[in-house]
């Protein structure tokens, strides 16, 4: 099993609405995959299914060849799947250090290891100067960095980024991209959900396009732009 992550025909329904409809996606190690689609196309739901926040109604999710469909989010984090939520999602009344350390502490039972991992993650995201700050005193960019540090601190193999560029200035976006590229160069796999296509298309090696819960395209970004159905549902709408 060479693939890192396999979503095998996963389906998720909310009442009568089918948010994700028999979607299959395979992700290889070291890949940088873009997940795009218009609003309500099921991108975030798919991310939730992979990270375990939601359980699929049908289908399986495999990680490193192991069926993780029934595992809880925290168990998946321990296996190596980290995620960043849409928007700014941090513990508002905990300082940066604890925002990051608590995740490390829950994955690594050894407190010393957890602490050194935390310091490493804070260094990678250039947050060492802000360790004792509360999130309320940070810029949106720094908060994104806190989230990224929290995702990295658990030694992930796969990181899911849900709209990581939202609310950031172009310079800040390129800084995020630089960090992502560097980590990807070290072999870390990413799935990025994003609306800002002009940034996304430049960095990802492959895109998956969803529309109304179905996968309508899977391939190179350059082909996606030329694909008729993709242009119609996606670029036509936006």
């Amino acid at each position: 099993m060479g693939k890192l992550l396999i979503c095998d025909n996963v389906t998720k329904r909310f009442g009568g609405l089918v948010a994700v409809n028999r979607v299959s996606v395979e992700v290889s190690r070291g890949e940088l995959l873009g997940l795009i689609g218009p609003n309500g196309s099921g991108k975030t739901t798919l991310v939730n299914l992979i990270s375990g926040v939601l359980a699929p109604d049908e289908g399986r999710v495999l990680f490193e060849g192991r069926d993780i469909t029934k595992l809880k989010p925290h168990e998946r984090v321990a296996l190596g799947i980290s995620r960043i939520f849409q928007g700014m999602r941090v513990y508002p009344y905990l300082p940066v250090y604890y925002n990051v350390e608590l995740s490390a502490r829950s994955v690594f039972k050894d407190a010393k290891l957890a602490r050194s991992k935390t310091i490493w993650a804070l260094t990678t995201t250039k947050l060492l100067a802000e360790t004792l700050e509360l999130p309320a005193n940070l810029t949106p960019y720094k908060i994104k960095m806190v989230e990224l540090a929290r995702a990295l601190v658990t030694n992930p193999k796969l990181v899911l980024l849900d709209e990581p560029f939202a609310g950031l200035s172009p310079e800040e976006v390129s800084e995020v991209i630089e960090i992502v590229r560097k980590l990807n160069g070290n072999g870390l796999t990413f799935i990025i959900v994003e609306h800002k296509l002009r940034y996304l298309m430049k960095i990802v090696g492959r895109v998956v396009v969803l529309n109304e819960g179905r996968k309508i395209f899977d391939g190179a970004p350059s082909e996606a732009v030329n694909n008729e159905e993709v242009s119609r549902v996606y670029f036509g709408v936006v």
């Binding site: 990270s51 375990g52 926040v53 809880k72 989010p73 925290h74 984090v77 321990a78 980290s82 995620r83 939520f85 999602r89 941090v90 513990y91 508002p92 009344y93 905990l94 300082p95 604890y98 350390e101 608590l102 995740s103 502490r105 829950s106 994955v107 407190a111 004792l132 509360l134 929290r150 995702a151 658990t154």
Partner: protein, 345 residues
């Protein structure tokens, strides 16, 4: 959203920073010897026991923000366990305290497991329903036959068999003083443990659940386990409070299940003191409950209404609790003064 305490207070480097607090505790402990009246010693004993409930509430609800309105259930279960162990198995209350607390903690654990799995208000709902239903059970047929009904269950209180051998005029003082010191000792130990736990990594995990549970879960924290452990530890504290109180003040009646008796004072203290700060609620516990006794002479029953109005206003205006902030300011002022004194010497 309340502004929870975020930073671990810096490690106390010098013992002298602790001196003011130790002095206050020492004076407090010396009160019975200094000739405080029996009535007030009893009041302080009760306040000490309430501190356990307050700490229990603060440790779990103050950090995870899952409001445990079922505290009276845990308190009452251990109180009834003491009474029943005495009545049916003949175990003296002295030996029944810890087993009863354990029984009650296990019971609470077993009953609340399903609601701990669910996010949101369901936990508070279930916890609110439990004590009232139990109070109804205790006083209605056929359970009242075994549980004492309205009159409750009576038994010889703690140390009574020993106190009986004392001369009559020493007896009362011995009982109230020994109760005071036992309750104070347990309260101090509980305080230190709670403080340590609340500001440990585990304590911060509970706080993370209170601030964003979905995030906590998705970023690796086993929220169910954290809630379970935290809840059981906190239940054990309330259970000890119930067992101690029952051991000292028979008979046990269904009154222990009524939130106004066993929950509301501690809830007020936790809100007033600052949720999750441990220090604040502990101080607020003593302040509010002692004032509550003093107010009896002035306001009578109206004091409950006054406290409730105060509670509403405080919750709406300052959910972060101001006792803790007063404490921090006072502590800073006092410790700088003391350090200056030492440096001058």
């Amino acid at each position: 959203m309340s502004k929870l305490v975020f930073a671990k207070p810096s490690k106390i480097k010098k013992v002298r920073k602790l001196l003011p607090s130790l002095a206050v505790v020492a004076i407090y402990l010396a009160l019975p010897i200094m000739g405080l009246s029996g009535f007030w010693i009893d009041v302080l004993t009760r306040v000490n026991i309430f501190l356990l409930i307050t700490l229990s509430l603060d440790l779990y609800s103050g950090t995870t923000l899952y409001l445990n309105l079922g505290v009276p259930f845990t308190v009452g279960a251990s109180a009834y366990a003491i009474a029943l162990l005495n009545r049916y198995l003949g175990i003296p209350v002295e030996y029944a305290i810890l087993p009863s607390a354990a029984i009650s903690a296990v019971l609470s654990f077993a009953i609340f497991i399903p609601s701990l799995r669910v996010r949101g208000a369901y936990f508070s709902i279930l916890s609110l329903l439990l004590p009232i239903i139990l109070a109804g059970l205790v006083t209605s047929q056929p359970f009242s036959l075994y549980l004492g009904g309205e009159g409750g269950i009576s038994y010889p209180p703690l140390f009574f068999s020993y106190a009986r051998t004392l001369p009559a005029r020493e007896r009362l003082f011995f009982l109230s003083a020994s109760y005071f010191y036992i309750s104070a000792a347990v309260a101090i130990v509980a305080y230190v443990i709670c403080y340590k736990v609340a500001y440990s990594d585990f304590g911060f995990m509970m706080r993370s659940i209170g601030q964003d549970e979905l995030l906590a879960e998705a970023s690796g924290i086993d929220t169910f386990r954290v809630k379970l452990v935290g809840f059981t530890a906190s239940s054990f504290l309330s259970a000890v409070a119930g067992a101690l109180y029952a051991a000292m003040r028979p008979p046990v009646t269904a009154d222990v299940f009524i939130p106004a008796n066993t929950l509301v004072p501690s809830l007020t203290a936790v809100i007033l003191g600052g949720m999750g700060t441990v220090v604040g609620p502990a101080i607020a516990n003593h302040l509010t409950l002692i004032t509550y006794e003093v107010l009896w002479g002035v306001l009578g029953r109206w004091r409950i209404i006054l406290y409730m109005c105060l509670l509403i206003v405080l919750v709406l205006l300052r959910p972060q609790g101001f006792v803790f902030y007063l404490y921090l300011r006072l502590k800073r002022a006092v410790s700088t003064k003391i350090s200056r004194l030492f440096e001058g010497a």
